[in-house]
């Protein structure tokens, strides 16, 4: 007959025996026989619905019956059935706050529409009040996030930003107003959030998030919301979240399209499972280069805000393992399944990234060069020098490699428009004997144009700082965009 080994703490319910020999042809029958013989054991092993408690595993000899035939696994003479608890844990989730936290009369009134929903209720509102959420960036995504998370009563909201509000922000960063232009984004956002909800604590981190400071800043928060617009910070936030075991509520936007998901939550995939390597620098344009529909970050930021509140409340189905894609022009949402990559260098089975790295280098972004001109190269040319050349009537060709709709916003009349993408087709229109100067909006695209021209045997130089610098240094009547 099969034998059941009784774990030490349960022997008191089994007549102090360390094992019991029972009859039965399946594991299920043996367990029923055991708990019939020793009724007190039943409550230890099974819950009120008669199912094995979540922490109880049953082994037949050396095998978990879940991987055999479960309850129906046949047993024979001489077999040993063992009861083994599954045990895990970790320091991540702090113990629940003592129930002393309460809502004041004013808070009860303010959060009334939350309190009357059973899914939130007083318990949920207290969870929101106890929650600590870090918003990385107070720009397009951070704006709706800050406004709504403050309104919802998230007790402590950290903001990371080191930028200043400028006019080009106002088309989408609705947390800042016209009178805030020139102020620190942190101050402007915090004032607006406090105006909406004075009960919220706001911690300002006026830094550029880096490998040196990220762990220290993120450590204090329960949930990290990524509202950044560049790859190095995105990888940095992801890796720091994985290393600290904190969920990363991710969103990204470009022109008319956006994405959102929750990374690094309860064993789910992380950003590196989706994108193990960053794209080559310059391949994916930023919003400053490619533009963005002003409303788009509102839509995506609020999806992130919704997920954040769901994680805090522990309700609904979190956006984990699913990448939500939004197309504003088609007005369609799609979902892609995301899987955890067992080979993932940071969250996989054998991680190779175990501490934060140099993310600028990882993303192929060169360290900032000193101002000195490059040696052995004609290098960049300053807009004032270009102006002087035009005024002197020097023989040279100025090409504008921006797009036609940008040319329409502002241009330098002397310049010939050849968008960067069209340049290879128009090389035969240029004379290799001529000196060529290329410009764009800020100097990035024209640098690529100059590279291309040089490879094709032209003498080309890049106008430093693009038409923005031209507006600053040569002709202030040229509008900046």
């Amino acid at each position: 007959m099969p034998k059941v080994l009784i774990p030490t703490p349960l022997r008191q319910y089994a007549g102090k025996q360390d094992s019991v020999v029972l009859s039965g042809s399946t594991v299920g029958e043996v367990l029923t026989a055991l708990t019939t013989l020793h009724a007190d054991l039943r409550r230890q092993l099974f819950n009120d619905e008669g199912k094995l408690r979540s922490f109880v595993n049953v082994y037949l000899n050396d095998e978990d019956i879940r991987y055999l035939q479960k309850d129906a696994t046949p047993v024979k003479d001489g077999d040993t059935v063992s009861i083994v608890p599954s045990i895990a844990g970790g320091s991540v989730a702090a113990p629940p706050e003592p129930a002393t936290a309460e809502l004041s009369k004013d808070e009860i009134l303010r959060y009334s529409r939350h309190l009357i929903m059973p899914e939130v209720g007083t318990e949920g509102q207290l969870k929101l009040k106890a929650a600590k959420v870090l918003l990385v960036g107070t720009g397009g995504l951070g704006a709706p996030l800050g406004l709504y998370l403050a309104a919802a009563g998230v007790g402590r909201i950290g903001l990371v930003d080191f930028d200043v509000v400028d006019f080009t922000n106002l088309q989408r960063q609705v947390i800042h107003g016209t009178s805030d232009v020139g102020r620190k984004k942190l101050d402007s956002a915090a004032d607006r959030m406090h105006e909406i909800n004075p009960f919220v604590r706001i911690d300002k981190h006026e830094v550029a998030l880096s490998s040196e400071n990220a762990l220290d800043i993120l450590r204090d928060y329960d949930i990290i919301v990524d509202g950044t617009d560049n790859f190095p910070t995105r990888y940095l936030v992801n890796d720091a979240c994985v290393l600290l075991g904190k969920p990363n509520v991710y969103g990204s936007i470009f022109r008319f399209e956006g994405q959102a998901t929750v990374f690094a939550y309860q064993g789910g995939p992380c950003y590196r499972c989706l994108y193990p390597e960053p794209p080559p620098p310059g391949l994916v344009p930023s919003c400053a280069e490619g533009g963005v529909l002003g409303i788009l970050p509102g839509t995506i930021g609020l999806i992130q805000a919704t997920e954040t509140v769901k994680l805090i409340l522990g309700i609904g189905e979190p956006l984990v393992g699913r990448l939500l894609l939004y197309d504003a022009l088609a007005m369609r949402f799609r979902e892609l399944k995301l899987r955890k990559n067992p080979e993932c260098p940071v969250c996989g089975e054998h991680p190779t990234v175990t501490k934060l790295i140099d993310y600028q280098q990882f993303c192929g972004i060169p360290k900032p060069q000193p101002e000195a001109p490059m040696t052995g190269d004609a290098g960049d040319i300053d807009p004032t020098e270009v102006k002087a050349k035009i005024d002197r009537g020097d023989k040279f060709v100025l090409i504008d490699v921006r797009e036609p709709h940008e040319y329409q916003i502002c241009n330098i009349p002397f310049a010939k428009l050849i968008p960067l993408g069209e340049l290879p087709k128009h090389l035969d229109e240029l004379n290799p004997a001529d000196e060529i100067v290329a410009h764009c909006k800020s100097g990035m695209r024209s640098a690529k144009a100059v590279d291309l021209l040089k490879k094709n045997g032209f003498h080309a130089r890049n106008m430093k700082g693009g038409i923005l610098a031209w507006s600053d240094k040569v002709d202030p009547s040229v509008p900046k965009y």
Binding site: P7, T8, F55, P85, S86, G90, S91, A94, P95
Partner: protein, 138 residues
């Protein structure tokens, strides 16, 4: 009440220090009598959590089964489970509670900057809703 003898205690502290900044875990074998539990052997086990182990641990049931067999063969009992909390206090976290079992003592060692700081022992309930602190001496 649970008392950990000096030999196994030093082994547990060394194990937690060596695993830092990750969490370590292991089993505690010993005797249970009227005076309480006495740990005479610490059995370091592998932290099998698939993911960053700085703030999580998981015991393989197979390893626990082995620990139980080891105890039986030495005429001892499996008394409890230990694990470490790197750079935070030795509380019984929500994660600890939701993955616990009411049959054993759970000793948590707080390790700060790689060095032992303090420890607590916890007794979770069967419904995984709360854990009581147990008197711990070492």
């Amino acid at each position: 009440m649970i008392r950990i003898e000096s030999g196994p205690w030093q082994q547990m502290v060394a194990h937690a220090g060596a695993a830092y900044p990750n969490e370590c875990c292991g089993a505690m074998l010993g005797r249970i009598d009227d005076a309480g539990k006495t740990v005479t052997i610490a059995l370091p086990l592998e932290n099998a959590y698939e993911g960053p182990r700085a703030s999580r641990y998981e015991l393989r049931p197979e390893d626990l089964l082995r620990a139980d067999k080891e105890a039986r063969s030495r005429n001892l009992d499996l008394v409890g489970i230990y694990h470490s909390h790197p750079d935070c206090d030795a509380y019984f976290s929500e994660t600890d509670l939701k993955n616990s079992c009411p049959w054993y003592s759970f000793v948590v060692l707080s390790i700060r900057n790689g060095a032992f700081d303090h420890a607590n022992s916890w007794l979770p309930d069967a419904d995984q809703t709360k854990a009581e602190r147990e008197e711990l001496t070492y």
